[in-house]
């Protein structure tokens, strides 16, 4: 089977075609033949978890496409106008031009609402994909040498995406986005020493001023996308240069990549995957309403409603601000009074500490484990219980904060006291992450042990056998003798060994010929065969 079949017509039969002529012309000018071949031949490993970053990339492409459309109609101005568009409920209401143009996009531009909703859904998916991708990288140790730099770029990309999201939903100038800006303003004020200067400079005077929407707009459509695009370019270039990590498995070593060449399979699958991501965003945008700004009304400083939640990726900061106790530090120095706002800790220090910890993690781990080798094989999370535990701890911390960011909605939906929710969040934030660490650590060790057990004794067959002395034992199917754990999944069910594979494919009628019956090998002298493959579902009594 290792010999390959000969596809395609014979090389000799080819006559110089027009295509070949064009190719030769191009090569005379670009000398691209050899680099092009190297590019086409590049090998990529395949695993579903490698698609998570791709979801983020394709969401970003959808964001660029839909965002460009929106700029054709959006007016980032805080000028006061009276709405005269077709949405009857707000006609005659005073509002900013930004809000009015958002209504215009939603009601008076053909397909405008659809594109707006695609843009918003794509943003949510972008952030979600980034976070899940980040978790995948973390839990599998893909950030280890030589990929520390790409981890750092990835963390920066998360924060850029976060800022893109925040600036984006601040633009419509509706009641919800104005409230978000107001809180952002208060967080800026909370920065020690320069807080008031920072806020006043960005807002050009007291809140909200007349320029903030325009400045946020430039950040949203120019500065941040430019930085994001640049970093995404660097991110992909590094993946390309350093080659993708791969899972351990048959034939896979730390010094090779096992997979498919980029063209055509990998490239075609990438294109198809872009289409599927795009399709998902289109379906979400068409079927699920998002951010119906016309229901919220224009931003007014005195107006707010219950369930004022930011987009999901900001909710952990919303939660931290809700949970933090009312601790304000006031002190006097040289006769002047100074204040450290209670917003400073959850709004400035916490995101700062989280960012530094995330950026530093690969280097900390390297220092502690004194592991300076190059790693191209991924680790199963169970094989690194401490890191997996730390990750579970971080996820728990994030989830508690995120739930607390909507604790009023939880309180209302489940008829729980709001104060109880806040206290549950405060206590939970301290107790649950270490608990998550402990449990995850134990689960990892248990899974490790089970892997070893299967390798030593075989797969459970579910067949109970009564021994002559009356004992009952389960029959185990050994996988082989002296198998070592190699960092890859150990089969734990008989059908993973081919024992229960369907005979012939086809739902209504068979679409393939049944395989020839396996040749029955003569029984090995020692009573069981060495390879232990599923072809022969021989069983063996577990020996203890």
């Amino acid at each position: 089977m290792s010999t390959t079949t000969e596809p395609g017509p014979r090389a000799k039969a080819e006559r110089p075609s027009r295509l070949a002529h064009a190719g030769r012309n191009a090569d005379e000018r670009l000398q691209a033949a050899s680099p092009l071949r190297t590019l086409l031949n590049k090998v990529f490993p395949d695993h579903w978890s490698f698609l998570l970053g791709e979801v983020a990339l394709w969401s970003f492409v959808v964001l660029l496409l839909t965002g460009t459309f929106l700029t054709l109609f959006f007016d980032p101005s805080m000028e006061h106008i009276v709405y005269e568009g077709s949405y009857t409920a707000l006609r005659g209401v005073e509002m900013s031009a930004a809000y009015a143009s958002t209504l215009h996009i939603s009601f008076d531009v053909r397909g405008g609402l659809f594109i707006r909703q695609m843009h918003h859904w794509a943003a949510l998916l972008f952030l979600a994909a980034i976070v899940v991708h980040l978790l995948r990288i973390f839990f599998t140790g893909a950030f280890r040498k030589p990929r520390e730099m790409n981890w750092v770029i990835g963390v920066l990309l998360f924060w850029l995406a976060f800022l893109l999201g925040f600036t984006g939903y601040s633009l419509p100038d509706d009641a919800l986005s104005g409230t978000g800006l107001r809180i952002a303003h208060a967080i800026m004020l909370a920065v020690p020493v320069i807080g008031t200067w920072l806020a006043s400079s960005l807002f050009d005077g007291p809140f909200p001023g007349e320029v903030i929407i325009f400045r946020v707009y430039i950040a949203h459509v120019f500065i941040l996308p430019l930085l994001t695009l640049g970093l995404i370019g660097a991110h992909l270039a590094l993946v390309f240069k350093q080659k993708h990590t791969q899972w351990a498995g048959p034939g896979r070593t730390n010094t090779n990549v096992v997979g498919e060449r980029m063209v055509p399979r990998y490239a075609a699958k990438m294109v198809a995957f872009f289409l599927v991501v795009f399709a998902t965003i289109a379906l979400l945008a068409g079927l699920f309403q998002i951010n119906p700004v016309w229901l919220f009304g224009p931003y007014k400083a005195a107006v707010v409603s219950v369930a004022s939640q930011p987009d999901w990726y900001v909710m952990f900061l919303e939660g931290s601000t809700r949970l933090f106790p009312a601790w304000e530090t006031r002190f006097s120095l040289f006769g002047e009074h100074f204040t450290l706002s209670p917003l400073f800790w959850p709004g400035v220090v916490l995101p700062g500490v989280l960012t530094v910890l995330m950026l530093a993690y690969p280097f900390l781990e390297q220092r502690i484990t004194k592991d300076n080798r190059i790693h191209n094989l991924l680790q199963r999370p169970r094989d690194v219980p401490v890191r997996t535990g730390l990750g579970a701890m971080a996820v728990t911390f994030f989830v508690i904060l995120t739930i607390s960011g909507a604790n009023d909605v939880v309180a209302k939906s489940f008829d729980i006291s709001l104060n109880a929710m806040t206290w549950a969040g405060r206590i939970g934030l301290i107790i649950l992450p270490p608990l998550a660490y402990y449990i995850t650590h134990r689960v990892c060790l248990g899974l490790q042990q089970h892997d070893r057990e299967v390798l030593a004794h075989g797969v459970e067959t579910g067949i109970i056998k009564r021994m002559p002395d009356g004992r009952f034992v389960e029959v185990h199917q050994p996988l082989g003798t002296d198998l070592e754990y190699t960092g890859w999944a150990v089969p734990k069910k008989m059908n993973r060994l081919g024992a229960l594979a369907p005979a012939v494919r086809g739902f209504f009628v068979p679409i393939e010929r049944p395989a020839a019956p396996p040749e029955v090998a003569p029984p090995a002298p020692n009573g069981h065969d060495d390879t232990g493959t599923g072809e022969h579902t021989r069983t063996d009594v577990e020996r203890r």
Partner: protein, 398 residues
């Protein structure tokens, strides 16, 4: 065990063991007679450090399975085209204009966006599915192994590059010419400042610079230290409490246990220009008013008018409006971060992250019986008054 089996069996050779070398790892003469195109492909891969170890058709050419798969791929493409055409038809001809008051549950316009989403989603999804089916079911199955070339460059290269770099530094002679070092610093420093200058000069704005209205009144008052209730903004007269539409408010306009959001009755007073000014005017029940009067802060003495009290509507935590008024418990709740303020105790924060009481707006009546922000002094004169403490979130120099 063959290479093919070893790759597909779960517990075949463990990582680290190399596969049985397949034919084609050795260089071939591409000009030799009888060389096929695939031989060229393999040779190209070999030159890129790639070994194609498995390359075999997924389906038997001409088999029933192949024809069937081909048909389903074609069907997926055709359906994608159909859904795409449906999107274009819907985009052009489906009624999309907002019908205003004629809108009802079954108006076609309501389904414009869902129809666009479903047709576009289907078109893209089917197209993607067609390509994936094609690739995974019809294209030959391949396993290729590429060697990595990790680690540093060859030591020789490192040395040569290092020499080139140090030579660059040497050529400039910067190390031997300290005068130049200083000169470069002198010459480049202003440029760095020039880069920063527009940001500092253009963007930085003194937070204590008074509003133009304050400057016109001749007062050097930082915007944090006053709101729209400051009498200087009303030619020195007390500022009236007005509704959002600008109409002034008499005590009788607010029912017992009722509350109303009030704004300063000055030009732009109800707009976001004075975003810190909105206040909540509450008409307390007699017993509640007595309770509050009994425990007023010294600062708030004389700020109530009868059973009326007005608190700043800007949260002292993050600036949201704490406007959820619980009539039964006399609490104000901020929906942003759930701070709760006790109305009957100077709007003291009793729960949540807020640290300061909401400021109380001094209330009085003017000659015509309308509410104004002010107090009556010992001489019986009505004097306009702002909030007595800065409202809104804390800041460093507060």
């Amino acid at each position: 065990m063959s290479a093919q089996e070893s790759l597909e069996t779960e517990h075949g050779p463990r990582p680290g063991t190399t596969l049985e070398p397949a034919a084609g790892t050795a260089e071939i003469d591409i000009n030799a007679p009888g060389v096929t195109r695939f031989d060229l492909v393999r040779e190209g891969a070999r030159r890129d450090g790639i070994e194609i170890v498995v390359y075999e058709p997924r389906v038997e050419p001409g088999s029933r399975l192949e024809r069937r798969t081909e048909r389903s791929v074609a069907l997926l493409f055709a359906l994608a085209g159909l859904a795409g055409a449906a999107f274009i038809v819907a985009y052009i001809w489906w009624p999309w204009e907002y019908p205003g008051t004629e809108l009802n549950a079954f108006h076609l316009q309501r389904f414009y966006t869902p129809v666009l989403g479903v047709t576009l989603g289907l078109a893209l999804f089917l197209l993607g599915a067609a390509i994936i089916t094609w690739v995974k079911k019809l294209l030959p199955h391949e396993v290729a192994i590429e060697q990595r070339h990790d680690g540093p460059s060859a030591e020789e290269d490192q040395r040569i590059t290092a020499a080139t770099l140090t030579n660059v530094v040497d050529e400039s002679g910067i190390m031997r010419r300290p005068l130049l070092k200083g000169a470069i610093a002198l010459g480049a420093l202003p440029l760095a400042v020039i880069a920063a200058a527009p940001i500092i000069g253009g963007l930085i704005r003194d937070p204590h610079r008074p509003l133009p209205e304050m400057e016109a009144a001749g007062l050097d008052l930082s915007p944090q230290d006053h709101t729209g209730w400051h009498p200087a903004l009303n030619d020195g007269n007390p500022v009236r409490l007005v509704h959002e539409n600008g109409t002034p408010i008499r005590p009788a306009d607010v029912a017992v246990a009722g509350q109303v959001t009030v704004f300063p009755g000055i030009p732009r007073g109800t707009t976001n220009y004075y975003a810190d000014s909105p206040a909540l005017l509450i008409h307390l029940r007699q017993e509640h008013a007595d309770e509050l009067r009994g425990q007023l802060y010294e600062l708030n003495e004389g700020s109530m008018y009868g059973n009326y009290v007005a608190y700043s509507k800007i949260c002292t935590h993050a600036g949201c409006p704490p406007s959820l008024y619980e009539q039964q418990t006399n609490m104000l709740l901020c929906p942003c971060h759930q701070s709760q303020f006790e109305i009957l105790n100077n709007a003291r924060p009793v729960f949540g992250p807020a640290t300061r009481s909401l400021a109380m707006l001094p209330l009085a009546l003017d000659d015509e019986g309308y509410f104004v922000a002010g107090t009556v002094n010992d001489a019986g004169e009505l004097v306009g008054s702002d909030f007595k403490v800065p409202v809104g979130p804390s800041y460093w120099e507060r």
